[in-house]
Structures are given as structure tokens and as C-alpha cells.
């Protein structure tokens, strides 16, 4: 999967949980939860949805690595 394809997949899962999100408006380097009002259920649900879509499990110890959109894309591609 290319970086663009992975980014589109991550955004699609994010938009399923927060439909109001405009992917183009997000700053990829800033934490998602600073830009989108996601509570803990939303956020962990998002990580579970990414696991289901990609097969990549994200353990608690790696949550910081996936806090941003760029980090999330890089993490999923690397694993």
C-alpha cells in the first residue's frame, strides 16, 4: 500500500467516527485529538477500526506514535 492510500484509509476510518472531519484541513504533524474533538471511546474505537482494516495491532505502548495523522500512516506502513 502506498503512503497516499494508507492516508486515505486512515482518514476514511476517522471520518466514520467523526463525519465532520475535513481531511484536507488537518495538520498531519499535530495530535489528532487537538484538532478533532474525540473522546477516549472515539479514539480507541478509531485504533481498533484501523486494526480491523489493516491487520496491524497498535499496543498501548505505541499510542504516542500514532497520535498524529502522519505518525499513524507511518506506523501502519512500517508494521
Amino acid at each position: 500500500m502506498t503512503q497516499d492510500e494508507m492516508r486515505a484509509l486512515v482518514l476514511a476510518e476517522l471520518q466514520r467516527i467523526a463525519p465532520e472531519v475535513d481531511g484536507a484541513a488537518l495538520d498531519g504533524a499535530r495530535p489528532l485529538r487537538e484538532q478533532v474533538d474525540l473522546d477516549s471511546v472515539d479514539y480507541l474505537g478509531f485504533l481498533v477500526a484501523l486494526h480491523k482494516a489493516t491487520g496491524v495491532d497498535i499496543p498501548e505502548s505505541d499510542y504516542e506514535a500514532v497520535a498524529t495523522l502522519d505518525g499513524c500512516v507511518a506506523y501502519l506502513l512500517a508494521h
Binding site: D22, L26, D27, R30, V36, D39, V48
Partner: protein
């Protein structure tokens, strides 16, 4: 010995004044401006203004004068002249914010407090979140429930767990499965590497923030009087303690 009191105040964000942002400091305004959706920013500003208003009233200082510091995990605490006088925590969901406060007793620092509220809404990843975040015994108890009761029970359990980990200040990466909250009168904090050193007796209680919005208030200390005030009702109706 005087009883420690933890109180939670429930505020409807739609009732917060439109000029609430004037109470915020520069860092908070910058933080609010990072939200991409105006409604997210409005709720964050209103919740923050409500927090300042409640803390300011409790400390008898102007709300705009309060100074906050943040832990490495982002948990705010009072700094400056008010440092150490009140421990607090907040949570918002839908149009509600819950603000929890514990005042210092005598010369000591107040114990930390955690609060979480959750709007009950359908969840595609329900089973996976239970698998991932519930302790084995909680999972077993949840799976034994009638299907119709599971969604609300999930959010009730989640709010208790979040309130506990927020009180501990361990943040979003906390091992939620390490906190067993089946019995709110005595939640067991199971030991994992990440929670070593956090063994406590607890005071924990459930509350309903509004119809369809469940919450929990937690203090890692035994025998704390836990009070809930709904400021949206006339006179700020109080609910008596149930858990201490």
C-alpha cells in the same frame, strides 16, 4: 479527622455565555484555534470557561486570573498563587461538561480526582473494545449480560475506568484492562508494569450527567464523600453521596 469531599458539577455547555472565550488565557485560545470544526472549538472553549468559572468561585479569585500547568501527559493542575489548593479534573461529552474538584484540607495537598462522562451512542467496535480494554472478569460479566443491556453497561464500565486512570494521571495510553471496576465500592487496580506504585483504596461512584449520558467520579483514597451537583437544574440540585 475531617472528611475529604470530592464534588462534581454538571454544566450544560449550551448555557455557557457566548463571550466565554474572554476568560481564557493566550495558550488556551491557541489550543482552541487548533480545532478544525467550529463546533468542537465552541464546546472546548465553553468547557474551559466553565472550569475557570467554577474554580474561580471555589477559590474566590477572578476566573481569568487562574494559571494552569500541565503534566507530561497533559493533565492540567493549578499553578501560581492557587497551586495545590484544589485538585480538579474535567470531562465533556456531547453538550455536557463535568467538573470534579477536591479542596485541600489543612496544610496537605488534596488527593487527585478523576471524572469521565460518556454519551451512550452506538459503537461498531463494541466487542473489540471490550476485548481490548476490559479486565478478564469484567469481560466475562459483560458477556453474560442480556444483549439489550450491553451497550449501556459498556459505557458505565468505561466511565469508571477512565475516571480511575484520569485520577492517576496516566492518560490515554493507560492499561484500562488493568483496572477492574466491577464493584464500584472497591475497584481493584490490578498490577501491570504501567500501574505499579498506584495501589490504592478508592472512592468511586456512578452518576447520570443527563438522560443518556453516564459518568463516574473517582478518588484514589478511601472514605471520600462524593457529591454530584447538576447546575442546569434550579438551584444546582445536589445528589447525596452513595459510595463513600
Amino acid at each position: 479527622m475531617a472528611t475529604t469531599i470530592a464534588e462534581v458539577r454538571l454544566i450544560d455547555l449550551r448555557r455557557v455565555q457566548a463571550d466565554a472565550w474572554t476568560l481564557l488565557d493566550e495558550a488556551e485560545r491557541v489550543r482552541a484555534a487548533r480545532f478544525r470544526h467550529p463546533e468542537d472549538a465552541r464546546r472546548w472553549i465553553a468547557a474551559r470557561a466553565a472550569l475557570r468559572t467554577e474554580l474561580g468561585a471555589a477559590l474566590e479569585v477572578p476566573a481569568a486570573s487562574l494559571v494552569f500547568r500541565y503534566s507530561a501527559r497533559g493533565k492540567p493542575a493549578l499553578a501560581g498563587a492557587s497551586a495545590g489548593r484544589i485538585a480538579f479534573n474535567l470531562s465533556h461529552s456531547a453538550e455536557w461538561v463535568a467538573i470534579a474538584m477536591v479542596r485541600a484540607m489543612g496544610d496537605g495537598e488534596p488527593p487527585p480526582v478523576g471524572v469521565d462522562i460518556e454519551a451512550i451512542r452506538p459503537l461498531d467496535e463494541l466487542a473489540e473494545l471490550v476485548e481490548r480494554c476490559f479486565a478478564p472478569e469484567e469481560r466475562e460479566a459483560w458477556c453474560a449480560l442480556d444483549e439489550a443491556l450491553r451497550l449501556a453497561a459498556f459505557y458505565r464500565t468505561w466511565a469508571r475506568k477512565e475516571a480511575c486512570v484520569k485520577a492517576l494521571g496516566v492518560g490515554i495510553g493507560a492499561p484500562l484492562h488493568a483496572v477492574d471496576v466491577r464493584d464500584p465500592a472497591w475497584p481493584r487496580v490490578r498490577l501491570t508494569e504501567a500501574l505499579t506504585g498506584h495501589e490504592h483504596a478508592w472512592s468511586l461512584r456512578d452518576f447520570d450527567a443527563a438522560p443518556g449520558i453516564v459518568g463516574a467520579l473517582a478518588v484514589p483514597k478511601a472514605d471520600v464523600l462524593l457529591q454530584v451537583h447538576d447546575l442546569s437544574r434550579a438551584g444546582g440540585e445536589s445528589e447525596g453521596d452513595r459510595a463513600a
